[in-house]
Symmetry: D2
Subunit: 356 residues, 4 copies
């Protein structure tokens, strides 16, 4: 099922990541490869205009076929073929696409968890994904001190030969002014103060579009929070539980992050400030909203062909998030990583780190 | 899944019909009955305002829980309890509700097939529901003669002690003028003439709202028809097959039925003409659109309580259909039966019978 | 301006009724007639598909040109040409179109007032159309008695050689059962009882679609009613005034009319009951909602050409209103007149007469 | 009238700019000032949440009252009061608000022309605003050379005591890499090459959201362009005229500007590159789209109270434009000026300058 456009059905993630390997590796590079089912390109293509027509995004939830079993058969078929492809030592081009495929699959592993949380967390029965799952890791460092950095020229972007996405490339200089950044994330307790102070009822903290979003959607708390009989509860992958005040806040939109920071008399860091300072604090529990818009670095260039559609065409109207989350696979995060979402979205494990 | 608002997920039909027995029979009449799961009322209530809050209709497709297996357990639990209830000879009131529950379930048996056809027929892979299923029964009588009736007073509505829905009650007199009605249904071949004559491109045959519907939705043929490489195909429960020209036309909206009749220089019968004449022809293969709006009969009255919401509150903006369809369960049809749908709907097995 | 799709700008009415004479009388019948401005057909055609493309209805309010003065010049030009046409005694065909043009203009005279009321009554300043205009005529007969009629065959539809619209033709017999109808209209005071009894908060009185309409639009009273500092006010063409409890209720939708009747334990009359009984009571102050759907009479046929689009193509999804209103021009009403609107509309001077 | 939400009725601009002086200068600072009409705050408040409720934006076009004459009386009344206020030498605070009021009025002078162009240019009659108005000033310098700038630290933002908006403040350093920028604007002829090369049919040049915008709206050319009988025409304030190939392109969205630059193998400048280089070329004919998102400068702070809503709350989801346009009042432009619009908007006199 696909309860909102941003959430894909679990089996679709399985099929789509499989299709990625079939389309970008097996079809062009494995001799005599037989496509598993020519109609699957229509079913599992996400957004690549260069690879033909596709199911419109809102219809992903309407695909009762292929069934989950058929998708697993498809994965098995493609896995076997990938092993045949790797019988021969891969060329540099194949290796690059292979790493892209791995990282793409890791992104969908995170989405799979996020989407399942949305599907179950919006079910009136609040079923647990896995009983006993902890709501979130506690912050190791709860000090909430601000760390200061001096103005000057800093280098931004990926260096080295390790894998990174194209949007991290184009290492370049930026000039930053004096700033401070918190060594810890905002907690549920911090955010409750904002709620209890009428944060959702006072336009002054909000962008005009954020205020419209609050009123149109009747927003009064982060996603998954429920006020029941005088107490706050939150849906976690372990089910509906009492809100843990010491846990890091999660599931807020950029609009909320901005309004909260504004209420504090502070602001969100830019993505450059974040990248420069991240060695000085713990991160990795929440995707952290920044004040930066998602734009190309100087020197950014798209790869030719359909792979060039991976990142570049989304560089408008989105905000950059830095860090990683409790749902991010091991080894999939780095300081230069740029995640991006529209400002109203909050089904990801998004959080807030303050700066000034 | 729920690809359009009118189509419910198959498991929802199973749960809803079960809930109907639990809510209207077990809860009020079986002593010490323990409700299976109090949250199911929220999940499986269709439209009864009198029985509490419910999942909004567009969210039926987003319920990954309860699972299909849980729904079958629920059915089994309720079946057992129903047997206990019937250990004692039922009172007249229980018997009446029991028959309503049976007929309600039969209605959902038909919807189940219709909805599955929609779900599979709109899947890009066109999977068959059951390979070898015939597209539709051929008409026994293909004569297409018109049968004439004389003007005068006729009696309309159910008589006798057999079960009928409340909307058939209030036996009353109507005055009909001379009319003729066809002894057979419009076939695919008949309708192709309309298409090939530009029927979907000429506003003159259409209601203003029908013409808007054609243009807004880009309609050029009945639902499930596909023009592929110069030939017409249609999706049936047996899969995608060549259009059978001799089969009865199906899956047209009232707007199309009206436009086709208008193009023929004829019209649709009223529900009264249909009821008066139906003994003279074969029927039961298609739900047949009539020109009549769905209105209460003189003397119609709602039952007290939630059961009163069954039919009466839908008596505006809908058209009456008479007959039955190839998906209607055995024993669920009669000459006085009044089905009703909004004029744009066509996922049911709807057809056309002409009159003048 | 055009605050809702149903309300046209005043000058558009002036231009459209002028265009009607130009298009259906001057162009076909006046020799050497020069069209005033060929682009005006695009601007002032309302809904005649047979007369070429037109401004989409929602854009009527965006026409700053032609200006009001230009429209008056257009009217003057067409008036002059009409006089020339009538220098010669009109043929029967011309005379028929002439009367249609007159009656069409009268319909727009009523719409002009209704639309101006909407435009001014939804302005935050509540400007009066004409200071001192009385909210509505009081009912002469306030007795509220029910008048009874016996079951039997009655004749319905226009007879005689006077002008009528095509939808009144096809004089035919209907069979009516015993009924009673009120000799007076529902008053504001009557309706206040319904409001104060929670009528807008109890689904039981409403159609399912009516209930959706109430909730979606937050409806709590008839259009133009305002509850200010503990008292009811209503906007009239004379400005905002205290609600006159003895005045006839106005500006209710069919949904409200039905719900009110249902709350009373009564019902609305059918259009046939109304036509049969109207000689027995005063009418003409409100357009009165009936329970009848707007459908063709037996024997109804459309005129050939664009004029055939006048009425027939609207015969679906609308309800019939009978009577006339305080805004109806003198001489434009008769007992067989059939007005029709969608059930949610209430910007007309609509009211309620009860039956049982 | 208000044909799209972004276009306000001309008289509304007159009333709103008057209201600005009344609300922010006369009410707080002129002793014994009598508000002209207390209801006008509701009518003419644009977006200031801090000044009370207001007409929803989409309803600005529905205000037939106050009439144009009443608005002029209101202006005259406020003008007189402003003169009384200025009888006394203004305090620094008053002077600051006075300059803000002037600049605010100049912004609406530009909007007035832009909105009138939209209203007339979307009228099917294509009336001229002023016959003989030239479509646009020709570029003085047509050389189309690229001017190069060296990488390094540059200062950005307003300096000095002259008036500027708050969003220009916070003079700060940025690090720019080597770049070149065109000394001239893109012309209609340049853009025609893009159109004729299928620019609107090839997704590769577009952002994903831009491509959706093209397809959803069926965009095939800049706003106001019409392809009639094999030739291109454009609506100008002088009426519909043959497209001047040498004129600067206008009325394109950011999506189109980006796609055109991408098709050229170039890009748009950032707002910082523009500000640094603008002394080296002619500008002022088109508002020029930049690649920069509209974000606060380091050190940006909102003024307290309702005036603080002027700029800051719009700093999300918009792109910065630099320069000025043929509709900008004399004296209202400067190199540090930051205009901003959503990426799909193109009713302003927007153009393109390329960079690399």
């Amino acid at each position: 099922m696909q309860p909102i456009i941003d959430v894909s059905p679990p089996k679709w993630h399985l099929g789509h990541t499989t299709w990625f390997f079939e389309t970008f590796l097996l079809q062009p590079f494995l001799e005599n490869y037989q496509v598993y089912n020519v109609d699957f390109n229509y079913v599992f293509n996400s957004y690549y205009e260069g690879v033909g027509a596709r199911v419109i995004r809102t219809d992903r939830g309407n695909l009762s076929r292929p069934s989950v079993n058929e998708v697993y058969q498809y994965r098995s078929y493609v896995d076997q073929a990938m092993l045949r492809l790797l019988d021969t030592p891969p060329t540099a081009q194949i290796e690059e696409l292979l790493f892209l495929g791995f990282n793409h699959e890791q992104q969908h592993q995170e989405l799979l968890l996020t989407d399942i949380k949305y599907i179950l967390g919006n079910n009136p029965l609040f079923p647990a994904y896995k009983a006993g799952t902890q709501p979130s890791k506690k912050q190791i460092n709860g000090s909430k001190g601000m760390i200061s950095f001096k103005e000057g020229i800093y280098e931004i972007g990926h260096v080295g030969s390790d894998f990174c996405f194209d949007n991290e490339l184009g290492r370049h200089k930026v000039y930053l002014h004096d700033f401070s950044i918190s060594d810890s994330l905002v907690t549920n307790q911090d955010y409750l103060l904002f709620i209890n102070d009428g944060g959702y009822r006072n336009f002054e903290h909000w962008h005009a579009e954020g205020w419209d979003w609050v009123k149109t959607n009747g927003v009064t708390s982060p996603m998954y929070w429920h006020f029941i009989d005088g107490s706050w509860y939150t849906y976690t992958l372990g089910g509906l539980t009492a809100l843990d005040l010491n846990a890091s806040l999660s599931h807020v939109s950029y609009y909320e992050a901005y309004a909260f920071a504004s209420w504090c008399g502070l602001r969100l860091p830019t993505e450059f400030e974040w990248e420069v300072s991240a060695k000085s604090f713990n991160w990795g529990e929440r995707w952290e909203w920044t004040e930066s818009a998602y734009l190309p670095y100087p020197g950014f260039s798209k790869a030719p062909g359909a792979i060039g559609e991976y990142n570049g065409k989304f560089m408008v109207n989105q905000k950059v998030l830095r860090g990683a989350s409790e749902a991010t696979p091991e080894g999939h995060s780095r300081i230069t990583y740029r995640n991006f979402f529209h400002p109203h979205l909050r089904w990801q494990f998004t959080g807030i780190r303050l700066a000034k």
